[in-house]
Symmetry: C2
Subunit: 336 residues, 2 copies
């Protein structure tokens, strides 16, 4: 049974559990602070394929395979999978998941996709629409640069506010087992547009959406940052994280002591030349499905807010001078 809490939050009475999770990343991510936490590293940008796009598809399929192994389930046990990515028409997902034959519901939330997929999977399980559900998302530095900015061969100089798209994927398998990290509550985001137009400063574009969703959640649940071990954003990076602190402070909410950002955790920014931090669907996905969920299993974390943010623009809309609308979906994950 799902309970609506306040205006925008869902409460899951059964609390669907994450019975398996896995992450896979590229070489650069393996050299960062979380390098040892990932299940698999792909050292070749092509991962043995002809194109970066095919390589990204393979990241998704490998993440799902690894998560299934850890959950001890087969593809035919999974009633549906929620997946999406940043590529046009979400081809990483459609090609990456083809061979599994799992009923597929494509999601588009840009870099918020991991949180969106978790919410979807939890709703489907809590409602008995699925006994076992999965979610997965990915990004790839080279396929994202080619599509959103410039082909790598151009050798373009990055702005200081730019983030570095993570090459990686993460997948979770959910089931109602009443143990381990479980989805307790969720807040579905609304689209926010505060007039940011700089596609090289996604953190600033996404911070207002993050602030809106986080405030809604605290209002709806009558809780505060003190009630949680960690408030983890997806990929606001350095610029966006600071903007989020400021926006929350305006409402008298100080999250700074409890906050971390997947985009800041995944790279050693001073050494790895990633400017404002990591980004991409695969950033939040690979950090959640490695360090974070491991910490749950080892009881270093018990109760967190995982909030992935997405910038809902396209190169076309940016080229036409439109603002960058954004969104943030929040999931409260608790150990049982």
């Amino acid at each position: 049974m799902i309970r609506r809490i306040g205006g925008h939050t869902l409460g899951f009475e059964e609390m669907p559990s994450i019975i398996g999770f896995a992450s896979i990343t590229g070489k650069k991510e393996s050299e960062g602070p979380l390098g040892k936490c990932f299940d698999k590293i792909v050292y070749d940008s092509y991962d043995g394929n002809d194109t970066y796009e095919q390589a990204e598809s393979m990241l998704q399929s490998e993440a799902v395979s690894l998560a299934m192994n850890k959950a001890n389930v087969m593809a035919e046990d999974i009633d549906c999978i929620f997946a999406g990515d940043l590529l046009n028409q979400c081809i990483s997902s459609s090609f990456g998941l083809l061979d599994f034959g799992i009923p597929y519901l494509g999601q588009y939330g840009a870099c918020s996709t991991m949180a969106q997929g978790l919410i979807m999977a939890a709703v489907f399980i809590e409602s008995s629409a699925a006994n076992i559900a999965a979610c997965v998302t990915s990004s790839h530095f080279a396929s994202a640069e080619r599509q959103y900015r410039f082909p790598l061969e151009y050798g373009g100089v990055r702005t200081p506010t730019a983030q570095w798209t993570v090459t990686g994927a993460g997948s979770c398998i959910l089931k109602n087992t009443k143990k381990g990290p479980s989805v307790a509550r969720a807040t579905i985001g609304r689209i926010v547009d505060l007039g940011v137009t700089d596609a090289n400063n996604m953190g600033a574009a996404m911070a207002p959406a993050a602030a809106q969703t986080l405030k809604s959640y605290f209002d709806d649940t009558c809780t505060s940052p003190d009630d949680y071990d960690l408030i983890l954003t997806g990929d606001l990076g350095e610029v966006g994280s600071k903007a989020l602190y400021e926006l929350m402070n305006r409402d008298g909410i100080n999250i700074q002591n409890k906050h971390n950002d997947c985009g800041l955790m995944i790279f050693e920014r001073t050494k790895q030349d990633v400017h404002a931090g990591g980004s991409g669907c695969g950033c939040a996905a690979s950090v959640l499905c490695s360090k974070i969920l491991n910490d749950f299993n080892e009881h270093r974390l018990e109760n967190i807010l995982f909030m992935a943010t997405g910038a809902l623009m396209s190169p076309t809309s940016c080229g036409q001078g439109a603002n960058i609308p954004s969104i943030a979906h929040l999931v409260n994950i608790k150990n049982r």
Copy 2:
């Protein structure tokens, strides 16, 4: 309570009802056989905007506004909206729905999006995750041609198997009211790839997915075409519909007498120069949210299968020589 029926089908015990629906289309669609059924016609391809993409966004926002009016609900009454479209990063949806402030969950199912959105909305309502939920999708001939094929200014010649992207949108508002057209059952599709690579013959690419989903549904529910007033596919067009008949016939299932296709209904093909028929997310959406749901309200239809199909490729994947994977989601709509 949602019941799982057989391997792939969901049964909705409460049967969430479609309490409001609306369609909006362009000039060409208004000149077709269903012209009088649409709620609003946009005679200018730009709909007063600077770009085709903005015009498509406006189709979505107008469809939602019209559907809300007919359902007698306000944006703040709607707990979440499921939306998607064909444009890169689904910008028709993110820009079109921005001003409503409704919690937003972006979907990507290509032309299957209307069925996918209906399934999502029904699951959220049946599970109490939402009291009122909405779905919407759109397509626009000019924005689709620019993105998927050639800018219109090239004046390219179309192949005989090509379909014509519908300029239009359709939206449904769902609530548990136990009256009117209601979602009784649904089958979530699996991704299918039978090796079709011709991006100008989407019908052929999508027919295998349609056949797989339809067979699963009949198997799961122990029903046959005779049990339904209509089996309505999204936009297989002429080529895809024939392929679907053949694929179903191989399993001894004859759907021809009960079948129609939104892509064949929306245009007068011999006169309107649309080759194999209409296509695009807006095709299935605008036909369902006009003629079909009107027929439910006037009891000319009581029990149908609505199955929208999607081709999950992108111009990038086609350019790289990949096959066209496809999917079909099915919704059983019944009058109460």
